[in-house]
Amino acid sequence: MKSEYNSIGKNIQRRDIVEKLTGQANFCADIALKDALSLKVLRSSRHHAVIDKIDVSDALKIPGVVNVFTAADIPGKNLMGIINKDQPLLAHDKVRSLADPVALVAAQTDEIARQAIKVINVTYTDLEPIFDIEAALAPGAPKIHKKGNTLFTRRIKKGDAGTAFETCHTIIEKKYMTHAVEHNYIEPDAGAGYVDEDGTLVIYASTQNPHYDHKEVQGFLGLKDDQVRIIQAATGGGFGSKLDLNVQGFIGLALYHLKQPVRYVYTREESYLATAKRHPFTIHMKTGADKNGKLKAIHIRAYCNTGAYGSYGIAVASRSAVHGTGPYEIDHVDIECACIYTNQPFCGAMRGFGAPQMAFAHESQMDLLAKKLGMDPMEIRMLNGFKKGSINGTGQQLIDSVGYPECLEKIMPYYEEALTNWVTEKTTPFTKRGIGIGGMWYGIGNTGVQNPSTARIELDQNGRVILYTGCADIGQGSSTILTQVAGEVLGIAPEAIQLVVGDTKFTTNAGATSASRQTYISGNAVKDAAEQLARVLLTEGANKLKVSKTALSFGDHSLQIAGHPERSVAFDWLAKRIHEKGVSLSWQGYFDPETIPLDLETGQGSPYATYAFACHLALVEVDVLTGQVSVKKIVAAHDVGRAIHPENVIGQICGGVAMGVGFALMEAFEFGKTLSMKDYHIPTCADMPEVIPIIVESVEPTGPFGAKGVGEPALIPTAPAILNAVSHALGKRLYSLPADLESVLQASIDSGHFGPEEKM
């Protein structure tokens, strides 16, 4: 592998930055289509009910109402879901939550559409609603879906945990709870569409997965591939929620019937109600170690409440089960994580797919074990942490790129400094300081399933390179990264590459922008495409320059004899020549990470081809009189394989920390009560700690130039580190998230810190 790169590792200007900074980027709500109708959905007024009748006659009488659609108007299959199809576009026989769409109005204005949904009369017969997991699993509980209330259970069984616990010196057994969380991206969900001259339904979407949207919309409408075109508009964040369809299906249905431009822009309130949340978890975790602190056995029973529909629930259950051990070697593993239906609005993917919830539990356990064994929290992590050659809970050996020990080493000096100098420093009265560690591992890509990406690179007759990718850049910067990869292979500046992104008419499927997979998987697909084009160029270059291919190197849009830049041939000449010979100038790349599906009973297999690792150190101050917590500093070490764009990596880390602070201290979505941002607190810049990002590059041989991923890992260790720090400060542990004012003050009272004298 080359030691010096031209593009890789450089903080080149981001592709979309000028449009974004100057306000020229077109988000869905900005797309102005002439005479576009407004769409609006009537949602269920019941948690769980049979629909007896939908009467739209009054709505149709309102001037300006163009039409009202119900499930009966869907010509194709009225079901969606990326993993399991259980969610209707419009409810037909019954409703399962307050978010369920019942009827779709198309009207001349937003205001008329809003009035129209008020006069649609739906007659329901109520069914008993179920909100929590206990009720859903109780014998005789009403079934929310025909197959029952357990959507899926992931089991991971290795060794003999039951017997191993008998020989453990120290066992910690606790119950952990986490709350539902809203993604709260800046851009509320929106879409727009029109029918073009040849009858294709063209839909602009705010999406993380345009090619999936394409298939779903086709399915609803019973249309062929080329009769629907999805174009990803500028997308203002997603964090997992825009993996589900938001308005694409409604736009498609209206276009199908009306053949007139339409648009649908969610208000923040509708975005809160109608889109997925992070799954709330209940986790029973039992961890055993020998007298030296070496982990021996783990037993986990975890439940996640997916609400009315699966969405990504199966992936969340599966990934959280795999990640339940944390980044630690444990020989005896017995894990079950079940995903349960209830009548809450549905939960789905959110940055980390259950791994953040699980990390809160396993990192609390590590600190509890350390305390009981009289060990230092860093020491116990060093002792048990994955290293090259370790075998994880699924029986997979980790061979290359295992940077966990290095992440811990990088954190160590900050940890020791904070422990000896910062924690002991005199503070303002009634303020207790504490520090905490959070460790994490994260499988790149989907769990134990094939999840390939494709890409296409084209050289035009003028020698320009065009990259086609279905990979949705939702603000995280994948477009920039992909041009760096292609540029590196072809020896051209990334900025010179023309990009076509997320337009199903021109691009091919790159899979979802999720699971921290795009740099690794789509990066490899782009690299594959670029290498194929490079091969053709080299062949023709060797023909022209009369030297062996190995003597050639790429220059600026040219090939040259290495060391003799004057002896070169330009891309445009080569392009014409290749074309004349009837050889393609357009090359498709493909990459599917090496995985082995997990056994349904034992969970043994190879769920991911590679893993990212990270460790955060949190420094916090707790006001023992009021329960206010202030996070002062986060030191965040991340093994990303190779940082293709270091500033982008740092951006992800800082954003992840912000989200982690929210998850740790304040974010709690209450179904039915949390209506908009006035009821829901995410951190503001005033709540942000100083962040010290540390990039660890443990190169992944199968990654594009050694890269893995960082999008989700950035968030995962923050909350565990903060919670461990709060426990350290108070000498009292909190077992549920968020650690809000109430629970922290209670912990302060329980630990004897609340009083006129300050307790040391």
Binding site: V624, L625, T626, C685, A686, D687, L745, P756
Partner: protein, 284 residues
């Protein structure tokens, strides 16, 4: 959003004239940071929006002898940066520090904060602390309303639809210790879970010679905490004494509100916040 007729009078008499005839059908709008939320949600159904944000008569902060006057149209940003307030009503100035965030502070007014009558209004405790009196006008004349009587219940002001608050008249406090602190679910842009303002003077023997105290976000309408003030006056503040007084304050709050689900937090937090605010008085 409902269809409003927007009216912007050039001066106070014009505004009062309009209200005299149309008060029932009119919503007054100053900064709009409360009003617009009700407009958007459809809660506010009035015919007219009367914009008073540019009326000169409602502007300005000045000290006239023993009267510290703060115009109702003064924004929170103006309060934040006012040197006059920092030296004569420090608690009020501090109440602007963590008020919403800068964008809101730039337009939100103190008059709107009081008239909105939210139990969580952040300027209210400090206005109580300074025995503020609201100067309220309608077409027929002027009325002086003490802060304690500005709200009849949570979110209900005692103003008639024809009235506008012109200014607040405060008793200035120069030498002494003053503070305002609030607890929210995050550091900025958070509605107060609880707030407290205090002003303390000690005599040469270290005894508390004067104490004023006001709580925010704890009771539906502002309430006097005279019992706690009386308890501490004349005493040397020690940790134990302040802790006891904080306990009394919590009891006084519960007397007014009864036990609610939020009391589990608020009872100890009132005591804790009181301790935190008054602690600098110990030993100094």
């Amino acid at each position: 959003m409902a269809d409003f007729k927007y009216i912007r009078p050039d001066n106070l008499p014009e505004a009062l004239d309009f209200l005299w005839d149309n008060g029932q059908d009119t919503a007054i709008i100053a900064g709009g940071t409360d009003v617009m939320i009700d407009v958007k949600s459809g809660k506010l159904d009035k015919k007219y929006l009367l914009d008073i944000s540019r009326l000169d008569e409602l502007k300005g902060i000045e000290l006239n002898g023993r009267d510290l006057c703060v115009g109702s149209g003064v924004t929170l940003s103006e309060i934040y940066t006012s040197a006059l307030l920092a030296s004569n009503a420090l608690a009020l100035q501090k109440s602007a520090v963590n008020f919403a965030a800068r964008q809101i502070r730039n337009i939100a007014t103190i008059g709107g904060n009081v008239a909105h009558s939210s139990p969580c209004g952040d300027t209210v405790p400090s206005l109580l602390l300074h025995d503020a009196i609201a100067l309220v006008a309608d077409k027929k004349g002027i009325q002086h309303i003490p802060m304690e009587q500005m709200a009849t219940s949570a979110y209900m002001s005692s103003l008639t639809p024809q009235q506008i608050i012109v200014k607040f008249i405060l008793t200035p406090y120069q030498d002494g210790y003053a503070d305002f602190q609030k607890i929210g679910r995050r550091k900025e842009l958070a509605i107060s879970r609880m707030s407290m303002a205090a002003f303390v003077k000690k005599d040469s023997t270290g005894r508390i010679s004067f104490l004023k105290l006001a709580l925010g976000a704890c009771t539906p309408v502002p309430c006097s905490m005279g019992a706690v003030e009386a308890f501490l006056t004349g005493k040397v503040p020690t940790r134990e004494l302040l802790w006891e007084a904080g306990g009394l304050l919590a009891e006084r709050m519960i007397e007014i509100t009864g036990n609610r689900s939020s009391t589990i937090y608020k009872k100890p937090a009132v005591q804790g916040l009181f301790m935190r605010i008054l602690f600098p008085m110990v030993g100094s």
